[in-house]
C-alpha cells in the first residue's frame, strides 16, 4: 500500500511571502523523514501541500509514482496528525478512531476489530469510552495517531505533533511514534522546529530555511557535517570564533598569535577574516605540553548537564568565550582554573566574514 512520496520543484507563495521555492524531496517507503526548520521556513506548507490543504503554484507531488495533486484532500489516502485539538470533541476515543472507517462505510464488526487493534497499538485500551477532554494531552496525541492509522493511509503526515506537550510527555510520545512507525512501516513526514526531537526520531532530516532545503541527510551526518552555516547553527550548538585564515591549512585566532590547523574546514575559504564554526565537543581541554596546537584560557562557567558537562573558557588575551563539552567523567575543572584548549577542526565549518 505504501509508496515513495516525491515532491518535485514545488513552489508556493502566500502573497509576497515565498513559503516553498523549487522544493524537491523524496521519502522512501517505510522511512521517517523530518522537515526541520524555524517557524516560517515552509516545512508546514510542504506538509499541507502533500495533504491537499494547500495548492502549490507549480511543481508536483506524487505517491508511488502517481501525481496526487488532482485529488481532493479526502481522496489522497493520507493520515495526518496535527499539533493539537484535532480530536473531535463530541466523540469518544472509540468513535474518533472509527470516524475514517465510518465515512468509508466499513462494517461495524470490522470497525470494532480495528479499533481494538489500534487501542492496543497505542496502549490506550482502558480509555476507549472517554471523551477527548477527559484524557491528557499526551493521550490525545496518541489517539490522534491511532486515528490517522485507522484508515491504513499510504503516507503519514505529522505536523508538530509534540510541541504542545510537556517535556517529559513529549519524549514518551516521541518514542511511541517511533515505535509505531517502525512497526507499521509507513512512509512518514514529521514536521518540527525542535532539533533535538528531529535528531532523536528521524531516519533522515531535511533542514529548511525560508522555503529552501539547506541539507538532507541522516541525523548524525547533519549534525556532524553541517553543509551550511544555517544548519550548523540550527542543529546543535556551535562556537562562532573569529579567525584570520593564513593559508588553506592554517589560521590564527583573531587577535592571538597561536596558529591552528584548518585543513579540512578551510577548503573554500579565501584568506583573511573568517569565522570558525565548531561544535563544543570538538574543542578539547588538553595538557599544556600537548603536541597539538593549543591556547591558554580560564574557565568562566561550568554547566553541569548530567552525562555531559560544558565549560565556557575565556581565551587569554582575546577575551573570547569558547564552549567546551565533554563527558562529565573527564570534565574535572572548576571555575577559575587555568586550562589549555585545542580545536579539532576536522568537522568544523568555515564561514566568510569577520566582526
Amino acid at each position: 500500500m505504501t509508496g515513495k512520496v516525491a515532491f518535485s520543484n514545488v513552489s508556493k507563495s502566500f502573497g509576497a511571502v515565498k513559503a516553498l521555492v523549487e522544493f524537491s524531496l523524496s521519502i522512501d517507503e517505510g522511512e521517517l523523514l523530518t522537515l526541520l526548520g524555524p517557524s516560517g521556513c515552509g516545512k508546514s506548507t510542504a506538509l499541507r501541500v502533500a495533504a491537499g490543504f494547500e495548492t502549490p503554484d507549480s511543481g508536483d507531488v506524487s505517491i508511488g509514482g502517481t501525481s496526487i495533486l488532482s485529488l481532493p484532500a479526502n481522496k489522497r489516502g493520507i493520515g495526518m496528525v496535527f499539533q493539537n485539538y484535532s480530536l473531535f470533541p463530541h466523540l469518544t476515543v472509540t468513535q474518533n478512531l472509527e470516524f475514517g472507517m465510518r465515512v468509508r462505510n466499513i462494517s461495524r464488526d470490522k470497525r470494532s476489530a480495528r479499533v481494538g487493534e489500534l487501542l492496543e497499538l497505542v496502549r490506550l485500551s482502558g480509555l476507549s469510552d472517554r471523551y477527548p477532554h477527559q484524557i491528557s494531552g499526551g493521550q490525545q496525541q496518541r489517539v490522534a495517531l491511532a486515528r490517522a492509522l485507522a484508515v491504513e493511509p499510504r503516507v503519514l503526515l505529522l505536523d508538530e505533533p509534540l510541541s504542545s506537550l510537556d517535556a517529559t510527555v513529549r519524549i514518551e510520545v516521541r518514542e511511541e511514534i517511533r515505535r509505531i512507525q517502525r512497526a507499521s512501516g509507513i512512509a512518514t513526514i514529521f514536521v518540527t522546529h525542535d532539533q533535538e526531537e528531529a535528531l532523536a526520531i528521524s531516519d533522515r532530516i531535511c533542514v529548511m530555511s525560508i522555503g529552501r532545503i539547506e541539507q538532507v541527510g541522516a541525523p548524525d551526518v547533519v549534525y556532524r557535517s553541517p553543509a551550511t552555516e544555517f544548519v550548523a547553527r540550527f542543529v546543535g550548538k556551535v562556537n562562532d570564533i573569529e579567525i584570520e585564515v593564513l593559508s588553506s591549512t592554517k589560521a590564527r585566532l583573531h587577535g592571538h598569535s597561536q596558529e591552528i590547523e584548518i585543513a579540512s574546514a578551510g577548503k573554500n575559504a579565501g584568506l583573511g577574516a573568517a569565522r570558525l564554526l565548531i561544535r563544543p565537543e570538538d574543542v578539547q581541554i588538553v595538557r599544556p605540553d600537548s603536541a597539538r596546537p593549543n591556547v591558554r584560557g580560564t574557565v568562566k562557567t561550568i554547566n553541569f548537564g548530567g552525562a555531559t558537562t560544558t565549560a565556557d573558557v575565556e581565551i587569554s588575551g582575546t577575551g573570547h568565550l569558547v564552549r567546551v563539552a565533554d563527558s562529565t567523567r573527564n570534565m574535572r575543572y572548576r571555575v577559575g582554573d587555568s586550562v589549555h584548549i585545542a580545536f579539532d577542526t576536522e568537522r568544523a565549518l568555515l564561514a566568510r566574514g569577520g566582526a
Binding site: N74, F82, S86, F88, A148
Partner: protein
C-alpha cells in the same frame, strides 16, 4: 488575639461585604417571586385552585398562543439567524462586514418595546407604507387576513430582535470550530458534506439548541411590543396578567393573575436551565 479568631473575623467581614447585594436580591427579587407562588396556590374562596384554573379554558389557550408564538418566532429566528451567520462566514474576505453586522445585531437584539411596535405599525399596519407598497404589486396582505397585531404579525415583529440575538449566539460558536477539525475530517476521507453532518453540526448543536431556548424564553417574556401592536387586547399571557393587577378582574379570582405569573416563571425557569446546561456543554468541548 490568635490567628484563628482573626481568620473567622475576617471571614465574617467578608460575608458582610456581600450582605447589601444579597439583601437587595432577597427583598426585590426573591420576596416578590415567593409572593407570586404563595398567592398562586392560595385558593381563598374561589371554586378552583388558581394554579389549575390558570391552565384551563381561556387561560390555557392563552398559554398555548404565547408558547406557539415563542416557538415559531424562535425557530424562524434560529434558521434565519444561522443563515446570516453562515453568510457572514462565506463573506469573511469582505473586510469590516462582520463587525458591522455583529455590531448592528447587538443593537437590534436589544430593541423592542413601544418604539419597535411603532416602526412596524408604520410599515405593516392597515395603512402602513409597506402594506400599501406590496398591495401595489398585488400582494394584498390585509386582503389575505394579515394583521400586524395577530399571530403572524407579532412573529414578524419579534423576528426583528430574535434574528440578531441568534446571530450573536451563533457567530462565536462558528468561530469555535477549529480548522484542524475540518482538516482532520478531510484527511480521514470525509467529504465537506460529511464533515458538516458528522462533525460541525453535532459540535454546534448545544450552542444552537441553547440559543433556541434563549429565544423562546425571550419571546415568551415579551410584553410591550405585543401590547402596543394590539392596543392592549392581545391574547398573550403577559397581557392577560395585566388585567388582574389593574383590578379589571372578575371577583373571586384575584389570585389567578399570580397563578399565571407563577406558570410563566416555571416555564422560563425550564428554558433558562436548559440553556445553561447546553451552553456549559458547548463550553467544555471548546477547551
Amino acid at each position: 488575639m490568635n490567628s484563628r479568631v482573626a481568620g473567622s473575623l475576617n471571614k465574617r467581614a467578608r460575608h458582610l461585604a456581600f450582605a447589601p447585594y444579597a439583601i437587595f436580591l432577597l427583598v426585590f427579587l426573591v420576596w416578590p417571586g415567593l409572593y407570586v407562588f404563595r398567592s398562586a396556590f392560595d385558593q381563598g374562596s374561589a371554586p378552583k385552585n388558581p394554579m389549575i384554573e390558570a391552565v384551563t379554558g381561556q387561560y390555557r389557550s392563552s398559554f398555548i398562543f404565547s408558547l406557539r408564538l415563542s416557538f415559531v418566532s424562535a425557530i424562524l429566528g434560529l434558521v434565519i439567524g444561522a443563515t446570516v451567520a453562515v453568510a457572514l462566514m462565506r463573506l469573511s474576505h469582505v473586510r469590516g462586514l462582520r463587525n458591522v453586522v455583529v455590531g448592528y445585531s447587538a443593537v437590534a437584539a436589544n430593541m423592542g418595546g413601544i418604539p419597535l411596535a411603532f416602526a412596524f405599525l408604520a410599515a405593516f399596519g392597515m395603512q402602513g407604507l409597506a402594506t400599501r407598497l406590496l398591495k401595489g404589486i398585488n400582494i394584498d396582505l390585509i386582503g389575505w387576513g394579515f394583521r400586524i397585531s395577530d399571530f403572524w404579525g407579532i412573529v414578524l415583529v419579534y423576528l426583528y430582535f430574535q434574528i440578531p440575538l441568534m446571530t450573536l449566539v451563533i457567530v462565536p460558536a462558528l468561530d469555535g470550530l477549529r480548522r484542524t477539525w475540518s482538516e482532520a475530517a478531510q484527511s480521514l476521507g470525509a467529504s465537506t458534506r460529511q464533515y458538516w453532518r458528522f462533525v460541525a453540526l453535532p459540535i454546534l448543536t448545544p450552542a444552537l439548541l441553547g440559543g433556541f431556548l434563549l429565544l423562546v424564553a425571550n419571546a415568551f417574556a415579551a410584553y410591550a411590543t405585543a401590547f402596543a401592536l394590539s392596543a392592549g387586547s392581545s391574547k398573550l399571557v403577559t397581557v392577560q396578567i395585566r388585567f388582574f393587577l389593574q383590578g379589571e378582574t372578575i371577583t373571586g379570582k384575584t389570585n389567578l393573575g399570580y397563578a399565571l405569573a407563577a406558570w410563566m416563571v416555571i416555564i422560563t425557569a425550564f428554558l433558562v436551565l436548559g440553556f445553561q446546561v447546553l451552553s456549559r456543554r458547548a463550553e467544555r468541548w471548546r477547551r
